[in-house]
């Protein structure tokens, strides 16, 4: 039985200018999971995080953290919540280790240089501990942000686009960091534009657009429900018609009969099996194909499909 660590019900936020950034968001996050919140620019991801972390005042709805109402008990609850915001923002003229100590203190924790060292080492920042932050590279600065967020050992951690503008190597490094946190039992909610990231890291995925959650499910379940296999069989001599023996499969001909396209399956491997069956049937009937291309749809395709559907019931 998963234990909810964050429970959001009917969350709304209308900014002063009248922009409705959150429009009745319901979301439950379980202890220990990694949850990826996907959504295009302006979908409301940062506003959602800000509502939990205190930068945004919601205009409606309830947020419960560890089963307690955040609006009334924020002072105790915030001790266990950490945030790495989207933008790099700190006192650039300060030194790394001082900023990290400062964060720990601000969250009410007793000074603990051993823990600070551990955090800095785990982020490969120990050698840079006495550097001025402004002298660090962009990727290192981002790590300082993470170190600051980890300094008070939060149980619930928000990462708002942790890998935006970070090169491939650093991104993989960041994923390793997130894995290590998962092992420590930290619950992580991350937002990202990189579907690859959600696919790689997340246990569950939520899709948000225009301030509404369109879909929340286990990553594997989403793949199973919405995943597709696409296969292209190409022929030197065009086929006049789809062979009757293939009529049970979701196939059609394109390019004047020189290409037979299969689109089906469900992300559980059914698609691959069917493609193999089709290949055997074609061989058995003496229809020679010159090439075969298969491709599994990624979360990205699913995501794009979902956003393009005009009306989706959540």
């Amino acid at each position: 039985m998963p234990e909810p660590i964050l429970d959001i019900r009917g969350l709304e936020k209308t900014y002063k200018g009248g922009v409705k950034a959150l429009d009745g968001v319901d979301l439950t996050i379980n202890r220990g999971e990694i949850f990826a919140l996907l959504g295009p620019n302006g979908a409301g991801k940062t506003t959602l995080i800000g509502s939990v972390c205190g930068m945004v005042r919601p205009t409606g709805g309830v947020i419960e953290v560890f089963g307690k109402n955040l609006a009334t008990q924020w002072k105790t609850l915030r001790r266990d919540i950490g945030l790495v915001p989207q933008e790099l923002s700190f006192d650039m003229f300060d030194k790394v280790i001082r900023q990290v100590r400062y964060s720990r203190g601000m969250f009410g924790c007793a000074p603990d240089d051993a823990r600070i060292e551990e955090v800095l080492r785990s982020l490969s920042l120990w050698d840079k501990r006495n550097s001025q932050i402004r002298a660090l590279s962009g990727g290192m600065k981002r790590r300082v942000m993470i170190a600051k967020a980890l300094a008070h050992d939060p149980q619930l951690l928000f990462l708002d686009e942790p890998t935006a503008g970070v090169d491939v190597e650093l991104r993989r490094d960041m994923w390793r960091q997130i894995d290590m946190l998962r092992e420590r039992g930290v619950t992580i909610i991350l937002t990202t534009h990189y579907i690859e990231e959600a696919e790689e890291m997340a246990d569950r995925v939520g899709v948000i657009n225009n301030g509404r959650i369109l879909l929340v499910d286990n990553k594997d379940a989403i793949m199973a429900k919405l995943g597709r296999t696409e296969a292209h069989f190409t022929f030197d001599a065009p086929l006049a018609d789809i062979p009757a023996s293939l009529s049970a499969f979701p196939v059609h001909l394109e390019e004047g009969g020189t290409c037979l396209i299969y689109r089906g399956g469900d992300g559980t491997g059914k698609g691959k099996r069917e493609v193999a069956e089709i290949a055997q049937i074609l061989a058995r009937e003496g229809i020679v194909f010159a090439g075969l291309d298969t491709r599994e749809s990624t979360l990205e395709d699913i995501f794009v499909d979902l956003l393009n559907e005009p009306e989706v019931s959540a």
Partner: protein, 254 residues
Amino acid sequence: MTFNARGAFAIFKNELMRMFRTIFGSILSPVITTSLYLVVFGAAMGERMDLGGVDYGAFIVPGLLMLTLLSESTSNASFGIYMPKFTGAIYELLSAPVGVAETLIGFVGAAAVKSLILAAIILGTASLIVDYSIAYPLLALGYIVLVAASFSLLGFIIGLWADGFEKLQIIPLLVLMPLTFLGGTFYPISALDGVWQTVAMINPVVYLVSGLRWTFLGQSDFPIWVSFGATVAFLLICIAIIGWIFKTGWRLRE
């Protein structure tokens, strides 16, 4: 709602370290400015002032001290809270278990303490230049603390209100500075002509300078309780405004 003492102290310490990061800007420049005032004004105007037996140098020391207290407290506190708003680092403060009390102790406390440190240094420097004594040292200390706290609160409000560096400077430069210069720093209000004396009475800084001068010289334009009362009232108004700011999230939370 338990008080987050460690959080308050962390902010306080961080602010104080930030303010003393550059020794020149934080200590040397106000000390040099005040010394110049003492030397130049003391020498140039001292002869012409009839202060009923009080040495002119000793007369302007509390005035100059007030000038420094007001400008330093206001600018340090306003800068202290404006910077994180400007860099975005305010997110951390908003996401931390830190409320009004912790924020005020941290930011306003650090600004006020810095002013007090400066006040001590300036009084020390002044004693090298002019001969003065403090009639009521404890009262003087209490009054300096009160003024430093009040104007650090004012600075905090300015820093929250400002949404650009320009606004950050407007009040210290266009309001506080002129009011202080016209507020009896360099002359007693009684030396002014009739009409100007009345005009001076509506300048709040007049009461501040007069109060501090009273604790130094044992005499001034107004009785000490008037100055004390006015300052306490000002302090309470600032606290009320800040209470409202935190309640509404004005300029802090979206």
